[in-house]
């Protein structure tokens, strides 16, 4: 590995550690749910290693328990995880066009909410090795949490597991607040997104994944129309 790549990888590991801790707490709860849905520890762990998606796996386990049809599984999985399509679109603009296909195939597996967030915040063009570094600690945390959730759902005191649950959100705030402080449009967009999300959470016909998707598409499009970014403010 070149020195630049090594530094990027180590930096990814450093930024991936809090993600791994947060994942552990969330996937622990996911593991408990997997068990309720009739999955074995091996099946749930395999799912977490392959999929790395909280809402997507949660919905997936629910559909496995219900023995849903193949088309239902494909459709619901696509709807719940549609934000990854947008994140991937945003991320491809942060890659140098010279990044080869195999790196893009590898980076695709790393597009989780949190690794996307830190990758999007990477200064300048994204070195995919940074995302691999974060993924290499975060993904085992996710899989291990799922495994332990299935086999011993009550190993940690409930209040510790609960408190760890806010860690991921704390990280999201650390990512979106500093740019919002510098840029009034970003600040307005962030506040409005939270407000709309709050309203949507009281609409019983909307799942969380649906409301996040609709708010993301609608509000980003409105902001792009009203406040197009100047060339130097590249995403």
């Amino acid at each position: 590995m070149s020195n630049g790549n090594k530094a990027a990888y180590l930096r990814g590991i450093r930024d991936g550690l809090p993600i791994a801790a947060g994942y552990f707490a969330v996937s622990f709860a996911l593991g408990i749910y997997a068990r309720q849905c009739g999955l074995t520890a091996a099946e749930a762990t395999l799912s977490s290693l392959l999929t790395n998606a909280s809402a997507g796996e949660y919905q997936g386990f629910k559909m496995i328990a219900a023995q849903s049809s193949v088309w239902m599984v494909i459709l619901m999985t696509a709807v719940i995880n549609a934000r990854y399509l947008l994140m991937s679109c945003a991320l491809c603009q942060k890659l140098s066009p010279s990044v080869p296909l195999w790196q893009r195939l590898l980076l695709g597996d790393c597009v989780t909410d949190e690794i996307f967030a830190i990758s999007a915040a990477y200064p300048g063009s994204l070195n995919p090795v940074y995302s691999y570094g974060a993924f290499s600690v975060a993904s085992p945390g996710w899989a291990l949490g799922t495994l332990l959730g299935v086999v011993m759902g009550n190993v940690l005191p409930a209040n510790v597991v609960n408190a760890l649950g806010v860690g991921l959100y704390g990280m999201f705030i650390a990512i979106i607040v500093p740019p919002a402080k510098e840029n009034r449009v970003v600040a307005g967009v962030v506040i409005l997104a939270m407000l709309l999300s709050f309203i949507a959470s009281h609409l019983s016909f909307m799942t969380d994944a649906m409301s996040v998707l609709l708010i993301t598409v609608g509000l980003s499009a409105a902001a792009a129309l009203l406040f197009p970014v100047k060339e130097e403010e590249k995403a």
């Binding site: 392959l50 193949v70 994140m87 491809c92 603009q93 806010v166 590249k234």
Partner: protein, 98 residues
């Protein structure tokens, strides 16, 4: 279908969503609207995912609100990711004890 069949199907659909734009879009997008749209996507999506979900994440809304407030203040002071995340957990834990 077996559980394993479901698990592979879900993983495949999820991976397709993540990898298609990264592999199919190789050039910088020049359209100003699309560029602006993609510039706002991370902020909107992370903000919408954070609130109000963070408030309810611990099962104790007071702890969630305290953790949210602490994270906002620390982020305004430009603290590191880890600092903000750990402080939010610590605040949630302490308020949960009350």
């Amino acid at each position: 279908m077996s559980n394993l069949g479901y698990i592979f199907l879900i993983a495949l659909v999820t991976y397709a969503l993540r990898v298609l734009p990264l592999t199919l879009i190789r050039r910088p997008i020049t359209n100003r609207f699309i560029r602006s749209f993609l510039y706002y996507v991370p902020y909107v999506t992370l903000a919408a995912m954070t609130f109000p979900a963070m408030i309810h994440a611990t099962g104790n809304d007071a702890a969630g609100i305290a953790a949210f407030a602490a994270a906002i203040v620390l982020a305004l002071c430009k603290q590191k990711l880890l600092t903000v995340a750990v402080a939010a957990c610590a605040v949630a834990f302490l308020v949960g004890l009350i």
